[in-house]
Symmetry: C2
Subunit: 216 residues, 2 copies
């Protein structure tokens, strides 16, 4: 599976979570329609994605749960051996430490960083918080390749530069600013207030857009 798009990877992540649940519930096979319902998309899309993954099902029984889950785990396998770090231990950062510790115990956050001396050298949600000045060195030492940024907007580029210098290759950015990174570093943006603005705008207007809407 080469040159897979970000949207495909997102859907495969959804399928993996669904297959994990099915496996935990002891369901040995699943039809594409059930997957489609659980993922909120069309069955044809599910079949296309799983075909690209080289997963094989039968019309009578559907896809074998354990086997496809293994294929999905293989697909994300590289990812799960990677180490994470977090910059910014405010309300949001603290919640992310707790939330991800619960949801992704296989990929713990190895270090947190904060500019506030009150927070540093302490254990927060099971993770030690270090001063920002240590970032480059600790990121390299802990072989951290994934960073989560939960600092205020005006501090985001600074911690990004330190993460990238230390060896980070992928960033999940909660700060509401664009980040300048080298072309081989992947950034995913997650701007909560912007998404909430979108919801409030469309909730206040008669016209609700559908996913087929094009740019105006």
């Amino acid at each position: 599976m080469r040159n897979v798009s970000t949207k495909t990877v997102g859907r495969l992540s959804q399928y993996r979570r669904i297959f994990m649940n099915l496996y935990a519930q002891g369901q040995t096979h699943v039809h594409s329609q059930q997957l489609a319902d659980a993922a909120g998309m069309g069955a044809a899309q599910v079949r296309r994605d799983l075909m690209a993954l080289e997963a094989v099902g039968t019309p009578a029984k559907g896809y074998p749960t354990a086997q496809v889950l293994e294929q999905l785990n293989d697909f994300f396998g590289v990812a799960e051996k990677q180490h994470l770090a977090l910059a910014g231990v405010g309300n949001l950062g603290r919640a992310l430490l707790a939330y991800l510790g619960e949801r992704r115990p296989s990929t713990p956050i190895m270090a947190a960083f904060d500019a506030d001396p009150e927070k540093t050298y302490k254990e927060i949600q099971g993770c030690t918080c270090y001063p920002v000045d240590w970032m480059e060195d600790l990121v390299e030492k802990f072989k951290i390749t994934i960073a989560i940024i939960a600092v205020p907007g005006d501090a985001a580029q600074g911690v990004t530069d330190r993460f990238v210098t230390g060896g980070v290759r992928g960033i999940l950015n909660f700060a509401p600013v664009p980040l300048r990174v080298p072309s081989d570093v992947y950034v995913e943006y997650l701007d909560i207030t912007m998404l909430l603005d979108k919801v409030t705008y469309f909730a206040g207007n008669a016209q609700v857009p559908t996913s087929s809407d094009v740019e105006s």
Copy 2:
């Protein structure tokens, strides 16, 4: 500005934040290139969006900050008079109460709901937490039109149905499941673990996709 797409609304939300900062810093005019740099997009895109908003700038001085900010505030005006509620006061819900209280003081969350009796009838981050059974009634009483869902996946559809019955028209959904809603209710999905899966996948692979990538 009719039939505006979700992407356009997202960009206008970004511009509004930038104009608020410029205004607070006393900058009276701004060129499209400075806006483009701050928003991480092209200057032509910025000019197109602001033209659709009927904002007028001059080549010499750029856009007048105070005036365009007022136009952007008008655009989002309907939205800001709406009332919000939250379902799910776990780690993530608690952080959202604190984070949004700080970032969006003009639109406070009027009520929180949780199934855990330990949490109900208490004030959490300045917001009272009520039992789930009260949802329909309180959503209607408080005229709540926007809901934030931060409950586990298996509880998400249940609270969604209660919100919609009470009168909610827009939902920001942090639960990792698709929601069934009437066609006039707008849902924005925000699946943190899926986004992190995407980051870890692309950080672990040589090929980093660009925004021009198409579906595979």
